[in-house]
């Protein structure tokens, strides 16, 4: 079973959830990232996601390992879609199971934040009057050493 995947097909949410079901778990949280129509008042028509696929899978696996080390008894599965996505389409599904519920929320939140830091996936927004590659940190963060700092990578 592949717990960490990049796919061109629509994501089956239940299949991602099924990967983390365990008898020891009392809680499963999922995060489902969907394509939103309005961002800062601007109307998105559709998105294109692109990935450095082989590295992206490795980085998702790394996030999984980080979570399973940090939250005992947790199990993680992540699928990210690439290609063209329309409004309300599902871009990413993160499923985390843990024995107790507080951990399931925290570990899941950690996963999405890490994805936005270290997983080589990019989105291009298409509007009526143009298109642009979006970088979360494009305006706000530089990498003087050419890579994320240790804190960013392994925090």
């Amino acid at each position: 079973m592949k717990f960490f995947e990049i796919t061109k097909e629509p994501i089956n949410i239940q299949e991602v959830i099924d990967k983390v079901v365990q008898r020891e778990a009392g809680a499963i949280t999922t995060f489902i990232g969907t394509v939103r129509e309005l961002t800062h008042g601007k109307r998105t028509l559709f998105l294109i996601y692109e990935a450095y696929e082989s590295m992206a899978v490795k980085k998702l696996e790394q996030i999984g390992r980080e979570i399973e080390e940090r939250w005992q008894g947790s199990k993680v599965a992540i699928t990210h879609r690439v290609g063209r996505l329309d409004i309300t389409d599902v871009a990413v599904v993160i499923a985390v199971s843990t024995p107790h519920r507080a951990d399931a929320y925290e570990a899941n939140r950690y996963a999405i934040e890490r994805i936005k830091e270290i997983v080589p996936i990019w989105k291009k927004e298409h509007w009526e009057d143009g298109e642009e590659w979006i970088g979360n940190q494009l305006e706000t963060k530089a990498y003087p050493s050419g890579k994320p700092e240790e804190d960013d990578l392994h925090e």
Partner: protein, 77 residues
């Protein structure tokens, strides 16, 4: 020889997904500077580099056969 991969706005700027060049012996920083000049790559101060699918710092030295990738700020999720 080395493959150098470009993504997102860098791919648009270069006009190709990858180029093949001999970069062995150069540091990541040197290669970055060279290609930035050659292709007029924008906003390279925000771009990370990977060698063989692992993030690498500017002072790392490239070996023959290494796959280099320039990683603009990511926006998955």
């Amino acid at each position: 020889m080395n493959k150098v991969l470009f993504f997102a706005h860098l791919r648009d700027a270069v006009g190709k997904e990858l180029i093949e060049i001999n970069a062995s012996g150069k540091t990541v920083g040197e290669l970055k500077e060279e290609l930035t000049e050659k292709y007029h790559l924008p906003r390279m101060e925000t771009v990370m580099t990977a060698i063989n699918e692992e993030f690498a710092s500017n002072d790392e030295v490239i070996q023959d056969g290494d796959e280099i990738a320039f990683i603009p700020p990511v926006s998955g999720g």
